[in-house]
């Protein structure tokens, strides 16, 4: 096996490489969306694919999200594996009709005759100073729709591996790309045997013993930083990267919480009706007797995503995570 030395790569480059390798390995893989061809996508994640595989395999579509995803449904019916790019989180909303009425339930409705091996790539989340409609975290809407897988990477290597997995999946996958991590770098070798867990598994990114931070996507680096900071105060925090919101890895998550006895869920999207509620409930149901304190949540406020000049007050940062950790000193009287 030829090994390519690890070099610094960005998450955007790893995602691009994942599509390229998938397209080379399987002629049914088609990439499509707005500006994905000549421009290589507004984040350059599809850079070079049209040149290498032609316009029919990497297609600049008309500007119509419902049309893009609806056409992908028909393509999947005919045996292709469409990888669709939605340009920004809030611009995927016109496609919800197709997603919810068709993509998510086609397999079930047809008793398995029409599977939907579609990947919908959605750059999501805030922290890049985008104007309105460029920073939403829509994962709760996707999670609430049975029939979809919902995954999100937090590292360069996982971005590659998870996207390969998503493209290989015979079910539709909502692939949420944390856009503020697009330019995060890591030493990474595309040809080295990457240790990537499949869809449906969570990963312990940092082992610890006094409490567990349950998180995913853009909040993983925040939690790792918080864990470093907490060490000075005597807290040895474990950080679990959930990676796959649907299916959810109860096993890894609960094993961690049972070990530490305390848990905080951290995410950017609004807390009320958000993913943290589901996660906290599952953990409580399964680990009740192991818990020393209620499962806490640190989330974005329950407000429409604010203008960029105020987003730092909205996004859960290290301080809010540490505050929650401090509240894990639960006493029955409090």
């Amino acid at each position: 096996m030829t090994t390519v030395a690890a070099k610094p790569a960005t998450m955007a480059q790893a995602l691009q490489r994942a599509m390229r390798d998938a397209m080379a390995a399987d002629p049914t893989v088609h990439v499509m969306g707005e500006d994905v061809g000549t421009l290589g996508g507004v984040f350059r994640v599809t850079d070079g694919l049209a040149k290498e595989f032609g316009d029919d395999r990497c297609t600049d579509t008309p500007l119509a999200e419902a049309g893009i995803l609806g056409a992908a449904v028909g393509m999947a019916m005919y045996g292709l594996r469409p990888v669709v790019e939605m340009q920004f989180d809030a611009f995927a909303y016109p496609a919800f009709e197709q997603l919810i009425s068709h993509v998510s339930r086609m397999r079930n409705r047809t008793r398995g005759a029409l599977p939907m091996p579609i990947v919908v790539r959605v750059p999501y989340g805030g922290g890049i100073g985008g104007v309105e409609h460029h920073s939403d975290s829509s994962e709760a809407y996707y999670m609430a729709t049975p029939g979809l897988h919902v995954v999100t990477p937090s590292t360069v290597a996982d971005a590659y591996g998870l996207l390969r997995e998503a493209i290989a999946s015979d079910d539709p996958v909502i692939f949420l790309e944390p856009k503020r991590l697009y330019w995060s770098k890591a030493e990474w070798s595309p040809d080295a045997p990457a240790e990537v867990e499949p869809i449906g598994r969570a990963v312990v990114r940092r082992a610890g013993s006094s409490a567990t931070l349950l998180t995913y996507g853009p909040s993983v680096p925040v939690c790792l930083e918080a864990a470093d900071a907490a060490r000075d105060e005597g807290w040895d925090l474990e950080v679990v990267d959930i990676r796959s919101l649907v299916p959810f890895d109860d096993e890894t998550v609960c094993a961690s919480v049972r070990r530490t006895g305390r848990a905080v869920v951290v995410h950017e999207s609004s807390g009320f009706g958000g993913p943290g509620g589901e996660i906290a409930a599952r953990v409580t149901e399964r680990c009740f007797h192991h818990l020393e304190a209620p499962v806490l949540r640190v989330a974005g406020f329950d407000i429409p995503y604010p203008p960029p000049m105020l987003e730092r007050h909205h996004l859960p940062g290290v301080d809010r995570v540490l505050d929650a950790v401090a509240r894990l000193q639960w006493e029955a009287t409090s």
Partner: protein
């Protein structure tokens, strides 16, 4: 077996086209006024007013673009090269009418009288909409594409039901015409005979995607016909032609004639936004050829040729633009006043208990920050 052989296959005798499509069809060539006889029908004061507004608009675009380079604006989708469309759109409307701009149409909002700083809050990153839409009758600049078009239809419809003399003018790009909302809006407007004018600025590209990959229609104006409304094709760099066509469409709407779709053929001289690299998808030669068809150049040539525009007027227009630019620069250099606690204002008419407790949390954090 051919259709004719089928029993009863002849057209039903009562069937006929519902309307004559011929008058709905757009001109085969973009309508032009400058450099043609049609210009004689226009008042020279109007032409000079348009000239002043174009010069003003060009400087506004240049100043806003410069502000992105200084980090004072997060992003600016420039309408340089498209000023004739922006100005004509604003000036075609009466006080009581409503403008529904897209994110690129800050200039139209400013030309309608909106304070430039208020118009830029979205793009600067402080409040999403820095003005009261009702006060100015300008809807919030719309970032999701084409979603403002059904709003324009609904407002115009409601106004008509109320017996009010109000027209909506809604702006959208060539790319936006592919969205479902565009089609639904046109259809509603035509069925309801709503007093709406749809203005498509066809500036050649949707970010990187050229018109040919957006539509196979002969022109975007042709799309009108299928909905039962007239489509007009205009030279979007000819401000006089834009004025004539929009004024006509607005008065048609006002008098109960229903909606019109206007396609303005123009060109985006700058990149999509300051974050875009236009060299990836278009060449200099194309940009240069459009530079020779610049809206200000076209009007200046016409006016000087007819002895209407002298050095004095050119100077005074330029000076007025300088004054506006200097004031804008100065106001934008002042740090915006932002109150973090405003995050919780106006989410609901009455804040929920959750929001009240989240507000308390932020208040405590801010106090702690201040105390540090």
């Amino acid at each position: 077996m051919t259709v004719q052989e089928l029993p009863g296959a002849t057209a039903h005798p009562a069937w006929k086209l519902r309307t004559d499509p011929a008058p709905l069809l757009p001109d085969p060539e973009p309508y032009r006024v400058l450099g043609t006889d049609a210009v004689d029908g226009l008042d020279s004061e109007l032409l000079l007013r348009l000239y002043d507004a174009l010069v003003h608009g060009r400087r506004y675009n240049a100043q806003a673009t410069a502000l992105t380079k200084q980090g004072r604006l997060a992003v600016y989708p420039s309408s340089t090269g498209q000023e004739a469309c922006e100005i004509a759109a604003a000036l075609a409307l009466q006080e009581q009418d409503w403008l529904f701009p897209s994110y690129r149409d800050t200039l139209a909002a400013v030309a309608r009288g909106l304070d430039p700083v208020e118009a830029l809050t979205l793009l600067r990153g402080d409040w999403h909409t820095g003005y009261d839409p009702r006060e100015h009758r300008i809807a919030p600049l719309s970032t999701p594409l084409a979603t403002q078009l059904p709003h324009a239809v609904g407002l115009a419809h409601a106004a008509r039901l109320a017996g009010d003399d109000v027209v909506s003018l809604a702006m959208v790009g060539d790319g936006g015409t592919s969205e479902g909302d565009f089609h639904e809006a046109l259809n509603f407007a035509a069925v309801w005979k709503a007093p709406v004018v749809f203005l498509v600025q066809n500036n050649g590209f949707a970010i990187s995607v050229p018109l040919a990959k957006q539509t196979a229609a002969p022109s975007l104006a042709h799309k009108a016909v299928g909905y039962g409304m007239p489509g007009r094709l205009v030279d979007g760099n000819d401000v006089a032609a834009m004025h004539v066509v929009l004024a006509d469409a607005v008065s048609r709407a006002r008098s109960g004639g229903g909606p019109t779709l206007v396609e303005a053929v123009t060109y985006r001289m700058e990149a999509h936004t300051n974050a875009d690299d236009a060299s990836r998808y278009r060449g200099d030669a194309e940009v240069e050829s459009w530079r020779r068809h610049d809206p200000i150049l076209l009007l200046e040539r016409e006016l000087t040729g007819r002895g209407l525009l002298g050095e004095e007027r050119i100077q005074s227009a330029s000076k007025a633009a300088d004054t506006m630019a200097a004031a804008l620069r100065e106001q934008m250099n002042a740090e915006p006043l932002l109150a973090p606690m405003d995050l919780f204002a106006q989410v609901y008419a009455t804040p929920t208990p959750q929001l009240r407790s989240e507000a308390e949390q932020l208040r405590a954090e801010l106090d702690a920050e201040d105390g540090r």
